[in-house]
Amino acid sequence: MSDEEKKTDVAVLRAENLTKIFRDFWRRPKVKAVDGISFEIRRGEVFGVLGPNGSGKSTTLKMILGLLFPTQGSLEVLGRSPKDVGAKSRIGYLPEESYLYPYLTAEETLKFYGSLFKLSDKEIRSRTDQLLEMIGLTHARRRTVGEFSKGMARRIGLAQALVNDPDLVILDEPTSGLDPLGCRQVKDLIQTLSDRGKTVLLSSHLLADVEDVCDRIAILYNGRIQAMGSIRDLLEERHRVRLTFPELGPESMKAVLDNIRRIAGTEPDLDHPRKDLERFFLDVVAEARKQYEQHSGVSGSAGFAGFLSSDGTREKHPSKE
């Protein structure tokens, strides 16, 4: 992380001994979905909650958002209780599936959520335009979201989570349903948000995504935190090193390897570095895009919405009426 200085020790979110037990109609306990977890997220951090299906990720996020009430434990979000309506103007939320109104158009959807934040009409219009541009759906702005593909709807969901320029962004499996292009974009977006001092909390079971963007992670299993810490601390194999250099002739190569054998006393692993599939896919699509400027899906986007970018000219938060 190049901008370690932006991260402070101010806790944006604090959970202590958080527990959720789902009960049946007669209030008998049914499932212990979250089991006494404690963690803290600091301002500017990208925090990932990892875990297999049914491990309690969504349940945790929903408690943070006030959609579910904890059975036990305490929660403090932006210094307030999750039930507090006031704090919601600084939070953006992308749920695990896009729960949009199928009869609204893309544009109307963003305007609707914008007005829930009491933004001015002018502000709503300009942010809607910028966000549609960012998610590459400007050309589909007048189509109803009911007819969108899963990934297109997901992009709208992401845009609505950002319409208030939130300080805390909570994303439940942000890359699910997105094409690799979208995934890359979301990851870049998270990076941008974090650079601007925003705090991001995301859940995922796609490890590669998490590895790319998160500063810290917690791994949940069966409602409990099994491991937590910074990615670097958790993954780095400090006692091993990888070198990369251009292909050498057989003579020079043998000399290098002999030297390593002699000095390290072990046999080194040798292979060709590969492009990862993501990189490869992005290159192919970039090539193809040059040929098809017109199509019905998601078009290429022009970077990030201006009001989200890191030029420091961010608007003040809408004041409460």
């Binding site: 579910l68 309506v85 749920p95 729960y99 949009l100 009869y103 609707f112 007005s115 009491k118």
Partner: protein, 461 residues
């Protein structure tokens, strides 16, 4: 208020785009145009006006009531079910605003549909009853009696209390009362007998009514409506003479009428025969040789004073329907906030039935209070049979509570008034709007806001 309007607009968009509104409008149109074609009145203009107003306006209001209740139940519950609510309650929006927005959306749609139906019915009425198609008498009836707003003025009631008590005293002095007859019951019987006598007019005799006229009277003719029955079986009509004389007026107005039995009849009195604030004497002389005439004592003779034109009366009736629809919207949205769609629909229908049975409930509550206070009630004695246990007290308490809730919602049948040319008064409209749209809707709104706050929206429904 911005979020509230956004949510209201959303509700309207949802109705518009799901074609619900289109279908509702089609159904309203079909009913308003179709009903008068299929239902034939009695062939008179009065009959036609009754059909058009009572049935079509009644149908429109029923259809809107049911759809409002249903849409209200669905408004919040379906969004919790489909989880769209997750994205609303995680925004800086109070639960009360969500409720208010949904309610407002429904109310606005009802305003639209009700004005549309109202305009259509009014236009149809004016068009089918245009002067060119009517006889002079039909036009007179229409303009004088039906498409008008008149305030009823009842005669000074006949006082039988004094004579009844006297008669009771003499009878009790004459004969010993049997064990199981209560003096009150006897008094009641005597009262009824005296009243019947007072409204019976033998051949050649006459009967008089007095009216106290209000201090200000509009400069339009009076209308008298009466109904009579003849004592003989098979008597179809009776000849009689009406005489109207007002204090301070030298002339009296006289008219001889042959009146069919058991049908509402009317005659009008030119305005020069009355003076405001004075007493009006009306008498009926039975000109038949052998039929005795009997007037029902509640609607024997009523005077109708001109108060205004039909159009405003029609609008006032629409406002009353609007108040009802707004309340139903509130009931529906509240039920849908508290429960899932199917439970909400059941609960809402249940509430509706209780309100409809309001007269019965208040009746039961009144009676049980009477029994407690006086230890006596009229009619057959039942309370000794069932022991007054805990259960009975609970039921009585429940009825008392329900009666308090339901009583302010009891409303007269103003649709009947409207189609009879009777005034739907502004004060009734004002009271109804205040009670239904402000008080009851407000209470329901607060109630559901509290319950909604305690609800875990994240749970599946």
């Amino acid at each position: 208020m911005k979020p509230v309007f956004a949510i209201a607009l959303l509700a309207i968009r949802s109705a518009a785009r799901s074609k619900v509104i289109v279908i509702l409008i089609a159904m309203l149109l079909a009913a308003i145009i179709g009903l008068p074609l299929t239902i034939k009145g009695d062939g008179t203009v009065a009959g036609y006006v009754q059909v058009l107003l009572k049935y079509t306006l009644g149908f429109a209001s029923l259809l809107l009531s049911i759809s409002t209740l249903w849409a209200g139940c669905a408004a919040v519950s379906s969004e919790i079910h489909a989880r769209q609510m997750h994205l609303v309650v995680t925004k800086p929006v109070h639960r009360f605003q969500v409720w208010l927005g949904k309610w407002l959306g429904l109310v606005l749609m009802n305003v639209l549909l009700l004005s549309l139906s109202g305009a259509l019915i009014y236009g149809l009425l004016r068009w089918t009853l245009r002067p060119a198609t009517l006889t002079a008498e039909e036009s007179r009836v229409l303009n004088e009696e039906l498409l008008i707003a008149r305030q009823p003025l009842r005669p000074v009631p006949v006082d039988v209390e004094e004579p009844a008590r006297k008669l009771l005293a003499t009878r009790m002095a004459a004969v010993e009362l049997p064990e199981n007859v209560h003096p009150d019951d006897l008094l009641n019987a005597i009262r009824e007998q005296l009243l019947r006598q007072a409204f019976t007019v033998p051949p050649g005799a006459s009967r008089a009514w007095t009216f106290v006229l209000p201090e200000s009277i509009r400069n339009e003719s009076f209308l008298f409506r009466f109904r009579l029955s003849a004592s003989q079986m098979g008597a179809t009509s009776v000849r009689g003479e009406w005489t109207v004389r007002c204090e301070g007026v030298d002339d009296s107005y006289e008219t001889v009428m042959v009146s069919p039995a058991n049908r509402l009849q009317s005659f009008s009195l030119p305005i020069e025969y009355v003076r405001p604030g004075r007493v009006l004497h009306v008498s009926y002389e039975n000109l038949h040789e052998d039929h005795t005439v009997i007037f029902p004592h509640d609607e024997g003779l009523i005077a109708y004073l001109y108060e205004g034109d039909f159009a405003m009366n029609f609008i006032r009736e629409l406002l009353l329907i609007f108040a009802q629809l707004s309340l139903l919207a509130a009931v529906g949205v509240t039920a849908g906030t508290l429960f899932s769609m199917s439970v909400a629909a059941l609960v809402a229908i249940y509430c509706l039935i209780i309100v409809q049975a309001g007269a019965y409930i208040t009746g039961v509550a009144e009676q049980s209070r009477l029994i407690e206070h006086t230890g006596h009630h009229h009619g057959p004695v039942v309370e000794e049979i069932a022991p007054a246990g805990l259960m009975e007290h609970a039921v009585k308490g429940l009825f008392a509570v329900m009666s308090v809730i339901v009583k302010p919602l009891q409303a007269p049948n103003t649709l009947e008034w409207l189609s009879n040319g009777q005034l739907v008064p502004w004060h009734l409209v004002g009271e109804t709007l205040a009670i239904k749209v402000i008080v009851y809707t407000g209470i329901l709104g607060l109630l559901s806001a509290c319950a909604f706050k305690k609800k875990e929206v994240g749970l599946p429904q």
